[in-house]
Every structure is written in structure tokens, then in C-alpha cells.
Assembly symmetry: C2
Homo-oligomer: 354 residues x 2
DNA sequence: TTGAAAGCGATACCAC
DNA sequence: GTGGTATCGCTTTCAA
């Protein structure tokens, strides 16, 4: 059997408390005794206080959970998510905690269990929007959490760090509109829950259930409405997931029509890159170059010349973790909206004269 | 106070054991009673068995730790590491466990504590080579672990999943040698512990302390020795970390000399991309194009046209986790060497006639 | 300074 | 099918 604190105590001839103090409160005993204890522990091969037992007793785990809606492996596949995680990691590391990655199972029934079983002191929820089940489970456990977007049902003590999705989207759409584009397509992931890839009928941006997508579509719509393009004249393209391939697939369908869009505004850089792929493949069949915009400004966006909206990914993660680990005294400080920047590159250009 | 299992038991008028069974062993009680218990629990707001307490009692945590030598944020910055993690995540997820990221502190004194405090059932050690302190700490805790390379001090029961570094390096160096290159530079990270950026004096590949680097340099050296290029005629370039900037910096120095190398063989794609950056900057000052090779085959390698050695990153992670979670019956199956492939792209070409 | 005692919240064996 | 009881390994008053 592995030795326990008790064994060390017996070996040295002191009580458990004293051994415990030797590890956790060195100032509570003489240096000499402490040395003897640590020495004996070394001889016995005692690995130090068992973290689980210590957590149970102290009521603190020393780990923050990061919750992803999608499969855990996705967390590492999406560049933006990776950078967010890096930020969380940095803050967590500085605080001396650990980072527990919690994949959220697809089946709702298992969501509860996944959250209930995670040994953490709180959660950073990096999610898509339909995370209600997860949030309820977290609340049920009574754990603190931080989301990456304001939520409709947020109470005053809820904490989040996000961006102004609508305004950010509007800024990039204004740019596209200013270039003269009027026949545009908006490209989003899972715009409607089970929708197929490609064009989609959506009564209005407000109908998109996913808050992030909704915010962005709303911003896009506003910009075009301002130049006289009604929502009904806008094409909405659905991608089945947030991947390059899905982005390409979603656009391909629309490209085949007789009046293809002159600009595609995507809700993520990954989708936008996919759109560029599709355009490259369509190639010479297209009469005019099609403008494309992304969202996030991931590393690949720069090399691809993608016009996009930059949001501070690492900073988002860092702040989210900080908000969790050191709750602000004033609850109002728990609501953070990070700045975004329009980054104009070569993927957008003037609309062709029609 | 948050309700505990005891409270639920009291509320329903049964014993703790029964409530526990309601959660963990549904077949041990009648469906009706179980329903009553779960119902009461819901009313009371009982969040289900406390994971920490359960872990303590069961002696199993339900999480695997991934240990990184470098800062936690680095784990997400290096594309190869990210893909490795994705693989681990996949396996862990399938197994119903969680993934605890453990950053290894730079100060040795804190290494022990970091490992002792991690609530995990075992470790995947994704490290650079000087992880001895960490491994000793893991062994001291008596936890199982899997490394990403065979180790010199490996016992028969040690598990690892790696590649044949030497052979892989040899294959790509053979390719470069066959192209006629004789004046070559080898580019590695921290070839010697505290070395500065740029050319380095190294008596032989065996002198590189870091096993991975040592293996690769050895393979490189072999290939050139086979065509008559002695080790002393080879330039060794040191990068201060595994980043594109560091790779560029390391090569820049060498480029300034009067007899720059005609080929640069890097120990990672990231360094190789940095080398390409440096070459692009040097530009027209160079009489001939310089061939560059990488290692790993990360995503950027393809778009950069980098000739490299592909190793299955996700698979490595997946297997490492699998080896940890389901130890093979035969210890011999705990030693896995994954296949690698030489991927020839455009970054290598014939040596200029001298 | 040191130690005795009381849990932290749950599980699992073994009677009933 | 259900409950008693003994842990799991440690921390922490509080008194000596």
C-alpha cells in the first residue's frame, strides 16, 4: 500500500496534525521537527498530501473547468478556441491552478453527469449558445461560472467577457456595403439547428437561435438595410459545422445559381476560408471576383489576405479565467465587452458594375 | 449550506447507502424508491454526489493529466502540441474521463508540488527531454504515466508512444543529400541548454542533451556522413525556443557569413518556417536558393510548400491516452513506435553547382 | 509547539 | 431490497 500521512506520523512518533502542518503550515512547528518529518516521508516514499483528500477537506479543488459545447477534440481544431484556451491557461497558471477540459456530451442526458463529475471550482463556458442545459447544471451545483457572451437570462451577478457582436458585424458589413456590394450572402454555422448545408430561409436575423450568430447576422443586416438592401434580398447560407470544408460546401450551392452573390460575409474566419476555397474551385466560371469577409482574425486570415474583424482571443480567455478566479468586488465589473477591430485585407474589393 | 447526500436521505427517510445506490447503482433498489429519492434530491437542490468525495472514496479520479515542460500557454501555441492534445482529448473523451492540463513550473522546486497537487489517475508526459524531475515526482506518487519517447532509464513496464527519431531524420537528410547538398546547417531548439541564438559548437550529435534533438541530429549526421560530409563540416544552429521568430533569428546569423549553407535541416516545422522567413528577408542578397526542411508536418507546412517528415500527431496523443487508460496486458505492447513519412514539397531543390 | 478529536461527503461490504 | 458501519486521507479548531 502507498504510505499515508498517518504512516509518516507513526514513523516519526508524532501526530497526524503535525505531519500535516509540516506540509501545509511550516510555521507551525520547529524547523528541526519539520526536517525530521520530511526526511521520514522521503524514506517511506510518502508522496505528500493526497490532493483529493485535501480538496475534500478544504472544500477547494484548485482547478478551473473549461466547458466546450462541441467535442473536446474540436476545442483544439478551431484556432480561435485554441487561442482562447491559451489565454485561460495563462491566467490559470499564474494563479497556480490547473485547467480541466470538460467535453460536453452531445446527448443532453449526459450533460448533467459530465458537469456533476468534474472536480473544479468553477467553469469558463466557451460555448455556442445552446448551452442552457450546461449552465443549469452548473448553477445546480452552485459553482461560479463565466460565459463568453452576455446572456439573455443573465442576473446582475453573472459574469461574462464578450464582444459587441452586433456592432462588430456591422462595422465589417458597412465596409462591404461601402464597396458597393448589394447582392450579398451571409454565411453562418448552424444558423438553424438541423438545417442542411447551403441556402436557408430565415424570416429575420432575430430568428437565429444561437446568440452569437444572431448578433452577427443582425449587425450584417443593419448595414445593408442602411443602404437599401432589405433582409429578404439577402441570401443566408448555412454551414453544418464550423470547418473550412463546411464553409466551402455551404457556398458552393449558392455559386451554382444564375445570380451569385458579389460578396460573402462569414460568421467566422474558418468558414470564410472555406468560402475562398469554394471560390477558387469555381474559378473561371465566375464572371467577377467575389468579396469575402471573416470574423475573429485567426492566424491563417492574415496569410489568406482575409478581411475580417479582429477580437482579442487570448485576452478573452485570460479575462474569463481572471473573472472566475478573482471575482470583482463590484459585480458591474463582471461584465466585460472587449474591443474589436476591422482589419481590411485583400479579400474584399469594389463590387462589379451590374 | 449546499445539501448533501445525507440531507436527501433524511428527507426521504432512508439511509445514505440507499441514496448513494440511487445514483451509482440503480439496480440495487426499486425503481419507485429511486424515483422518490431523485425527486427529493431535485426539490432540495442536491447536485448529485460530490466528485471529490467520490474520488476519495473510490480511489479513482476520472481525469488524466497532460504534463508540459513548457508554459501552459505554449501548449496551445505549438501546432504539433495542439494536435497531440486533440488526440489525447479524443481518447479521454471516449473513455468518459476528463483532461487536466498541468503546466510544469520552471523552477525545479515547484515541479514536485505541481505534480503532487494534480488530481489525476495518471499522466501523459509531453515533454522536451529534461523531464526527469517530473518523472521522478510522478513515480514517487506511484502514478502510471506514458511518455512521448522511449527513455534511456525506461524499465520494461514503462509505456511510451514515439517515433524512430533517428531513422525519420535520416530519411529527410538522405533526400537533401541526394539533391547534392554538402554545405548544410542543422537547426534545433535549445541544442545546448543555455546556448545563444545562432551557430554553435557541438562535438557530435550525441552531445545534445535533449533526446529528441539528439535523435534527429544523429539521423541528419548519418546521412551526410554517408556522402562524405563529416560532422565537423556541418553547421549547427541553435534556436532559443521553438518559435518561428527564433528559427529566423538562428539562421540570420549564419546567412551573413561568406559561405552560407545551401540547405537547412530544421528539427521542427516551426523552426523551418522561421528559416524560410529569414531567407525571404535575406532575399536577393543570396546567390542561390537555399533548401529548407522541417519536421512534424504541421498544417502550415503544406501551404508553405515545406519538405518535411510527417508524424501522426493526433494518433500519438490518442495512443498515449489509450495506453494510460487501458494498459496493455502484455507490457511489450506498451512500447509503440509510430511510422513517419517523408513529404517532399517545394522547399527543397538541387544544390547549386559550386 | 504539539496532539486529540471531529469531521469533509461519499461508498461498499455485509448483515438483515 | 435496504440500512449499519467502517473507512478513504487529510485539515483544523481547540485544549494541553
Amino acid at each position: 500500500m502507498k504510505p499515508t500521512l498517518q504512516d509518516v506520523a507513526d514513523a516519526v512518533g508524532v501526530s497526524r496534525s503535525t505531519v500535516s502542518n509540516a506540509y501545509s503550515r511550516p510555521d507551525q512547528l520547529s524547523a528541526a521537527l519539520r526536517a525530521r518529518i520530511l526526511d521520514a516521508a522521503g524514506r517511506l516514499g510518502y508522496p505528500g498530501p493526497n490532493p483529493t483528500a485535501r480538496s475534500l477537506r478544504r472544500g477547494v479543488v484548485g482547478a478551473v473547468g473549461v466547458l466546450f459545447t462541441s467535442r473536446l477534440s474540436y476545442a483544439f481544431t478551431d484556432p480561435f478556441a485554441v487561442r482562447f484556451l491559451a489565454g485561460v491557461g495563462e491566467a490559470v497558471e499564474r494563479h497556480g491552478s490547473n485547467l480541466l477540459l470538460v467535453p460536453l456530451p452531445a446527448e443532453r442526458a449526459r450533460v448533467r453527469a459530465a458537469i456533476d463529475n468534474a472536480a473544479v471550482d468553477g467553469f469558463c463556458v466557451y460555448c455556442a449558445g445552446d448551452e442552457d442545459w450546461a449552465l443549469n447544471a452548473i448553477r445546480a451545483r452552485g459553482l461560479p461560472y463565466v460565459t463568453t457572451a452576455p446572456r439573455a437570462d443573465a442576473g446582475p451577478t453573472d459574469r461574462y467577457v464578450g464582444i459587441d457582436e452586433r456592432a462588430a458585424a456591422r462595422s465589417i458589413a458597412d465596409h462591404v456595403a461601402a464597396l458597393g456590394h448589394r447582392r450579398v450572402a451571409l454565411l453562418g454555422e448552424s444558423v438553424l439547428p438541423q438545417a442542411a448545408a447551403g441556402p436557408l430561409r430565415l424570416a429575420g436575423p432575430a430568428d437565429a437561435p444561437h446568440p452569437t450568430t444572431r448578433g452577427r447576422l443582425t449587425g450584417f443586416a443593419e448595414a445593408f438595410a442602411a443602404v437599401g438592401v432589405e433582409w429578404s434580398a439577402v441570401t443566408v447560407l448555412n454551414a453544418t459545422d464550423n470547418s473550412r470544408a463546411a464553409g466551402a460546401a455551404a457556398l458552393s450551392a449558392a455559386l451554382a445559381g444564375d445570380r451569385p452573390p458579389t460578396a460573402v460575409l462569414a460568421c467566422s474566419d474558418v468558414l470564410a476560408l472555406g468560402a475562398l476555397d469554394a471560390l477558387a474551385r469555381a474559378g473561371e466560371r465566375l464572371a467577377h471576383p467575389v468579396s469575402v469577409t471573416g470574423f475573429d482574425d485567426i492566424a491563417e486570415a492574415a496569410s489568406a489576405g482575409l478581411t475580417t474583424v479582429r477580437q482579442p482571443a487570448e485576452e478573452k480567455g485570460r479575462l474569463a479565467a481572471a473573472l472566475l478566479l478573482e471575482p470583482p468586488a463590484d459585480p458591474a465589473d463582471g461584465h466585460v465587452l472587449l474591443p474589436t477591430d476591422l482589419v481590411v485585407r485583400t479579400s474584399t474589393g469594389p463590387a462589379p458594375r451590374s
